[in-house]
């Protein structure tokens, strides 16, 4: 009798998985005793006489998402969950059928949408302000970008080539696009100083983009005849094969300046240390935060994260571009303000909660859940 009362409290609900493109039903069990060892989910639909196994429900969350390819939107599905206890098995049927639907708006991304609107507005406002008052914009000095001319100049004086090493991500990465901007600047200087350049690529799409970028830079420098497509080479799509290839070229060609730009992984230090061993001046730039310490230790200059992404604005010095950087800075200030409010709210809420008043903590937790 006691067992019956205990098990009869278990309820199972089947409902449309929220914020998805349909084809998925979530099954959730409530009031499940801790002694359950296993829970299996069975499904049937109209026309079926028996239930078929759908999957295993987690006994930590008592939640199962049925995203089987046979699930059709708008069709009712009935679920039964078998709870395995040490000495018995209890079957509980969902109180109503689950029906999958596709949603037109993902509510879980509301905070992202709000931030996107605020941030985009700030950037657009500052772009407009920059158009009106180009002189009113200040952007701090970025030594690594200022050192490009010095590095290429040194390479020219030594009569050595300049190397530009792309990272391992493709053209879809923002860091790779920023690297192309920096390559354009480097290639223009190289063309002006009439010194050789070698650009190594991990990705063939980046290689073709690099070829166009260098070609354009040589044209801008008034030296289109000096452009050689064969100096922008593809090496391999294997991480350490690429590393070995670049290291081999560094050791044989002994470049005077090396630019390591893009997203790097474990090969970052191997490349930077080899560059250091051949005596080259090295300017690195990456958005891979894990690799920044390695570059800081081994390179002469480093573009840290967002500095790299601001490179095109810094190099171009166009008011509209600088305005977008200014807008991004204000976006950062807005975010810092939100974080600050959150810290104060959470801290005061925790203090008040320990004193017996949990109202502020509830507000804080609701805000956290929203984000």
């Amino acid at each position: 009798m006691i067992l019956f009362i205990l098990f009869s409290t278990i309820t199972v609900k089947a409902f449309d998985t929220p914020n998805d493109g349909g084809g998925s039903i979530t099954i959730k069990a409530y009031n499940v005793p801790e002694t359950v060892k296993k829970a299996l989910v069975y499904r049937k639909t109209e026309g079926d006489t028996t239930y078929t196994l759908a999957g295993v429900m987690s006994i930590l969350s008592y939640r199962y998402v049925d995203a089987d390819s046979t699930i059709k939107n708008g069709k009712p599905y009935y679920y039964r969950v078998d709870f395995y206890f040490p000495d018995t098995v209890i079957s509980v049927v969902s109180d109503s059928p689950g029906i999958a639907y596709a949603q037109w708006y993902d509510k879980s991304k509301t905070s992202s949408l709000i931030f996107l609107i605020v941030f985009s507005t700030l950037v657009l406002v500052f772009i407009q302000l920059a158009k009106k008052d180009p002189e009113g914009l200040y952007i701090r000095k970025i030594p690594a970008l200022d050192a490009i001319d010095e590095a290429v100049g040194r390479s020219t004086e030594l009569g050595k080539p300049t190397f530009f090493v792309h990272g391992l991500l493709g053209i879809t990465d923002a860091g790779t696009l920023a690297a192309l901007t920096i390559l354009r600047r480097v290639a223009k200087k190289v063309a002006e100083y009439d010194t050789p350049i070698l650009v190594t690529n991990f990705d063939p799409i980046v290689m073709t983009a690099s070829q166009e970028t260098v070609k354009q830079a040589y044209t801008e420098a008034g030296r289109p005849d000096a452009y050689n497509e064969k100096n922008i080479i593809y090496l391999t799509y294997e991480q350490f094969g690429y590393t070995a290839g670049v290291d081999g070229l560094m050791v044989r060609e002994k470049p005077g300046a090396i630019f390591l730009q893009g997203y790097f992984f474990a090969e970052s230090l191997i490349l930077a240390e080899t560059g250091h061993s051949v005596g080259a001046i090295q300017i690195a730039g990456t958005t891979a935060k894990e690799q920044l310490p390695f570059f800081v230790a081994a390179c002469d200059y480093v573009l840290i994260g967002e500095e790299m992404l601001a490179a095109s604005s810094y190099i171009g010095r166009e008011p509209v571009m600088l305005g977008s950087v200014k807008g991004a800075d204000w976006g950062k200030a807005f975010l810092m303000g939100i974080i600050g409010i959150g810290v104060v709210l959470g801290t005061v809420g925790a203090i008040l909660q320990s004193a017996g008043n949990g109202a502020l903590m509830n507000v804080f937790e609701k805000i956290l859940a929203f984000f």
């Binding site: 901007t181 354009q216 064969k230 922008i232 094969g241 191997i270 240390e273 967002e306 976006g331 950062k332």
Partner: protein, 211 residues
């Protein structure tokens, strides 16, 4: 004129659609981003041929001019032909070049993987040489770095606990408070920089990628 305007229009339309689809899970919008990545993969497959062409030409030039280290190019051609021939033969024989019993996978497992492991292993030596330079107490900043690094390194090994039982806790505090705060600041900066750059690209303000 059109050389610039058409790519800018494609970038704007694609960018706006992808941003909108991020918030709309309903078909066909929910799958558009995935579809775009599939198209990217198809384009990537074709550009790989350009990459191989570039590599073959680069080594041909080195061989023809007898440039420094030209004999490495012979090794390249040997490896390239070996991979190509064994790949084709394995595909014909097993229906899949990546079959575990194929000659292609034999060479991959016995030559390429050990070579890659060797390259990765070099990292240990490079960490030692870079650390030596970075941790030299030349000024107050480098001294702070040296002291912190010593505490963290000792706190991560049993001997650190033996020296002072609170050293692992101090290490955790350095990693989770002193280190994590600035690291998150860098992450936020990168994320915002990426959004700002994406906006510049979508709106056609950033055009350097067009050459």
């Amino acid at each position: 004129m059109l050389k610039k305007q058409i790519p800018l229009a494609i970038t704007f339309i694609t960018g706006v659609i992808i941003v909108i689809t991020f918030f709309i899970p309903h078909p066909p919008f929910g799958r558009l981003q995935q579809d775009a990545l599939t198209w990217y993969s198809v384009i990537f497959g074709f550009t790989m041929l350009l990459g191989v062409d570039s590599l073959v030409r680069f080594h041909y030039r080195k061989l023809r001019r007898r440039e420094k280290g030209w004999w490495f190019s012979i090794i390249f051609y040997g490896g390239f032909l070996l991979s190509f021939i064994t790949g084709v033969v394995s595909e014909v024989r097993f229906g899949d070049a990546f079959n575990i019993n194929s000659s292609f996978m034999y060479f991959y497992n016995t030559i390429l993987i050990p070579l890659q492991s060797t390259m990765f292993a070099l990292l240990a030596f490079f960490i030692a040489s870079a650390s030596y330079r970075a941790f030299r107490a030349r000024n107050i900043d480098a001294t702070f770095l040296l002291v912190t690094a010593v505490i963290v390194m000792l706190g991560r090994v049993p001997v650190g606990y033996m020296l002072w039982h609170k050293l692992p806790n101090l290490t955790s505090w350095i990693l989770n408070v002193l280190q994590l705060g600035p690291m998150r600041g860098i992450m936020i900066g990168i994320a915002l920089g990426t959004v700002a750059m994406s906006l510049r690209l979508i709106l056609g303000i950033e055009r350097t990628y067009l050459s």
